[in-house]
């Protein structure tokens, strides 16, 4: 066996320092990574060029590009369209949402890069967290883990598995695309069950920060959303205005406590936030906010047709373009002492006031006549653009942030095309991933799906530097022979053991390696070694190689996997969160993997 060189000792020390800092979090993880990037060349463990090569690595550039593509898709509302059917099945329960999205992301990442699937879902998960008021930290980790686990469902799901057939000796039968599927599916199911059952114990509780987690805050305990209801679309029939007094927007509020937030004006104009005296005509579509029973009563009494879902206004009344916010009458506001009618929110700002909160009481009827007082909270609905305008006037203090980015639903088709271009380049032309994704990202910028500043802003630099800084550490481990030395030492120390013990050792070794060096590096290094070892103890060498290929996805203990690095910032996770939730996941992973390989293939 080779001797331990001083370089190897230095590399092992550097890994120890990095892991120690990861665990203690004396300095932030991305800073630890940058520290490595700087220290390793100073110690002559890597060349300066190698030290910063992470910044130009295929993985990091791919991540930057895929985040930009994700932002573009989100901005145009495509992500929402993708997520809506999933949410329809899942309902509002946290568990169901986790199950539905985890399964979806696992399936997607079984055919494409895990990081790509994870980046595409990130904006969607953030929206879901916001609208269902589920702390984001409860969603991201389970879903991120599913993306990683999903990579083991097919042979093209993750880089180590793609490489596997090239690494095993030619006398062994190559793996086919779905050979890993039973194992991968077992792992995904195990991961989901783990988080559904134990999620509440292992995941951080999540921030109770009002600004981040709640869309609307109320001074009373009642949920204002319950009070103002949800949007419904109705249509007035042809004879709506025959033989009757005109029905005005205000009448509907007074009689049924429903607020009209939009209606059509024949032939094809859409009016947002119509004023109270707007007459409702025949053959128009209107959107109202109200409780179901009130809306149904109105539809019945006024002979309107209640539609099953938003149709005409489906793109106007979604959370991307408009929303319901709460704003408080500010001290010295010019609104104080006036009533809503004279403030004229509808005509001046095109926003619809729906309810007023005062001293814990909600006023829904007669709000237009109520003289406003400083401290009154007004619940209102409008487009983000209009609410933003109102916000800048300073008469109202918004308790809900309205600096929501403006959406560009009209660019949805372009965003979709650029995603398709990228995917075609990846899947059909087999061009390098980073270039394919950059093409899509640049395409989106050029066709103004998003502008270049928005593209820059969407990139999370914590993720970029965390990954870029750890790449030279992996390189140093391999280059100095440290990885090979460790692998050989561990495997030779095992001696003659039962196949199942050897397989377990291989699994643990792959898991540890993948945390520090890249999963591809770990696979390249370990597969030739374990194939020989397995042959020696009479175990199936193919299965030993397969274990390496799969176990290099067992990267949950530290946020060093690309997906975990990506989700760490938005989820506000700390290393300790990964150690806690990911530690158990890693152990389960090994058990389920060994177990299912044994059951499906034997050793």
């Amino acid at each position: 066996m080779d001797n331990l060189t001083p370089e190897m000792i230095l590399v092992i020390s550097m890994i120890a320092v990095a892991v120690f800092l990861f665990i203690t979090e004396w300095i932030r993880l991305d800073v630890v990574a940058i520290l490595m990037m700087v220290t390793l060349p100073l110690l002559h463990l890597v060349t300066p060029a190698e030290a910063i090569s992470g910044l130009s690595s295929n993985a990091v550039v791919s991540i930057i590009a895929v985040i930009i593509i994700g932002a573009g898709l989100d901005k145009t509302g495509l992500i929402n369209k993708l997520v809506k059917p999933i949410l329809k099945i899942a309902g509002k329960s946290q568990s169901n949402i986790i199950i539905a999205i985890s399964l979806a992301i696992a399936v997607i990442s079984s055919f494409m890069q895990n990081i790509g699937a994870a980046a595409l879902f990130l904006p969607a998960i953030q929206r879901i967290s916001k609208s269902f008021k589920i702390p984001i930290s409860r969603l991201l980790m389970p879903i991120g883990f599913s993306a990683i686990l999903g990579g083991t469902i097919t042979l093209v799901g993750s880089s180590p598995l793609i490489l596997l057939n090239d690494l095993i000796p030619s006398n062994l039968e190559p793996f086919s695309l779905f050979d890993v599927t039973p194992i991968g599916l077992s792992l995904v199911v195990c991961g989901i069950i783990y988080f559904i059952v134990f999620g509440r114990f292992v995941l951080p509780q999540g921030s109770k920060n009002i600004q981040d987690d709640l869309e609307i805050v109320s001074p009373s305990n009642d949920n204002p959303v319950d009070e103002i209801g949800t949007p419904y679309e109705l249509r007035t029939p042809d004879n709506f205005t025959d033989y009757r007094e005109p029905v005005r927007v205000d009448d509907l509020r007074k009689n049924y406590l429903v607020n009209v937030v939009a209606l059509t004006e024949p032939p094809d104009t859409k009016i947002k936030s119509p004023s109270g005296d707007t007459v409702i005509r025949a053959k128009v579509d209107l959107v109202v906010f109200g409780k179901k029973k009130d809306v149904e009563r109105m539809a019945q009494m006024e002979d309107m047709v209640l539609k099953d879902k938003l149709e005409t206004f489906v793109n106007d009344i979604d959370s991307q373009t408009s929303g319901t916010v709460e704003a408080v009458v500010a001290p010295r506001s010019s609104f104080a002492g006036k009533n809503i009618n004279s403030v004229n929110l509808q005509e001046k700002y095109s926003v619809t006031p729906m309810a007023i909160y005062r001293h814990g009481e909600i006023y829904r009827s007669h709000i237009d006549e109520l003289p406003l007082q400083v401290g009154d909270a007004i619940l209102m609905h409008g487009t983000w653009r209009r609410l933003k305008m109102l916000n800048t006037e300073g008469d109202l203090l918004f308790t809900t942030p309205v600096d929501v980015e403006l959406m560009r639903p009209e660019k949805a088709a372009l965003a979709g095309i650029w995603l398709a271009v990228s995917l075609t380049m990846i899947l059909v032309f087999k061009i390098q991933l980073s270039i394919c994704l950059l093409t899509g990202a640049v395409g989106m910028v050029i066709t103004r799906v998003l502008n270049i500043d928005e593209a820059y802003e969407s990139v999370d630099w914590r993720t970029v530097f965390l990954l870029a800084g750890l790449i030279p550490l992996g390189a140093a481990t391999e280059k100095t022979g440290t990885a090979a030395w460790i692998a050989k030492t561990v495997l030779s120390a095992t001696g003659q053991v039962e196949p199942i013990v050897l397989m377990s050792i291989i699994a643990v070794l792959s898991t540890v390696f993948t945390l520090v060096i890249s999963n591809v590096g770990a696979t390249v290094l370990l597969v030739p070694l374990v194939v020989n070892m397995a042959s020696e103890v009479g175990a199936d060498p193919r299965m030993a190689a397969l274990i390496v290929g799969i176990a290099t996805s067992n990267s949950f203990l530290l946020p060093t996997h690309q997906v975990n690095a990506l989700y760490m910032g938005p989820g506000r996770y700390r290393s300790v969160d990964f150690m806690k939730a990911g530690g158990i996941m890693s152990i389960l992973f090994i058990f389920v993997m060994i177990g299912s390989i044994y059951v499906f293939y034997g050793f």
């Binding site: 007094e245 007074k254 049924y256 005062r358 829904r364 009827s365 109520l370």
Partner: protein, 266 residues
Amino acid sequence: MSIITISRGSYSMGKEVAEKVAEKLGYKCLSREVILDASDLYQIPEIKLIKAIHDSPTILDRIGGSKKAYVAYYQSALADRVKEDNVVYHGLAGHLLLKGIPHVLKVRIIADLEDRVSIKMKRENENRQEALDIIKKDDEERRKWTHNLFGVDPWSSLLYDLVIHINKFTVDDAVNFICQAANLEQFKATNESRKKMNDLALASRVKAYLIEKRFDVSVLSESGNLIIYAKGDDRLDEALKNLPGDIDGVNNIEIHQNISPHERAI
């Protein structure tokens, strides 16, 4: 298709006018029935109710609010009776108890004191002084009652659409005027005005129920959406959750403890 309230002093021929109007228009004529209804509905002896709504509130009444309760019961019974339209009501304070309803024609019949005294002397076989004293006392009682409960003077002509002095005008003249007025467009019931009448009936029913439970409240109903103006009381929520089954048409309830009641609240 309207509701006519006829307010009158005692022995002013108002009853005769009311009955003839009802007969001529084919309307129902109401007065005492309302008291019977209220006494039935709220299980109060008729005599107590009559006394309560006739005499002005005593100091005790004002503290305990019992008079208010009786008026609430009465208002509820009245609103219930007249909401079907085509009614002439010549009982107590109809013009005040049915305020805000567009198709109510509010009439006041007055007569000279001397004429009233002579009618009373003839009918009750009393001497002049006796009759005069009783009529004066009665008028004073009504004035105080209306003032205490509604804050207005029943003799103010602004409270009425039509004030007819039976002197040069005969009872039949008065009947003709009233029937003519009742046929005017503005006193015809519309969907809107009927809805208001139903709302008033509902609000007064809910108010009577809450007052029975000893809550000091004002109530406004708009299309079955109730606003209850109350002084802080935690039991109110509970009481409203358990509204009696025969109160129907309530769609939503809002409770407000921090603002003064809307002018249309009762």
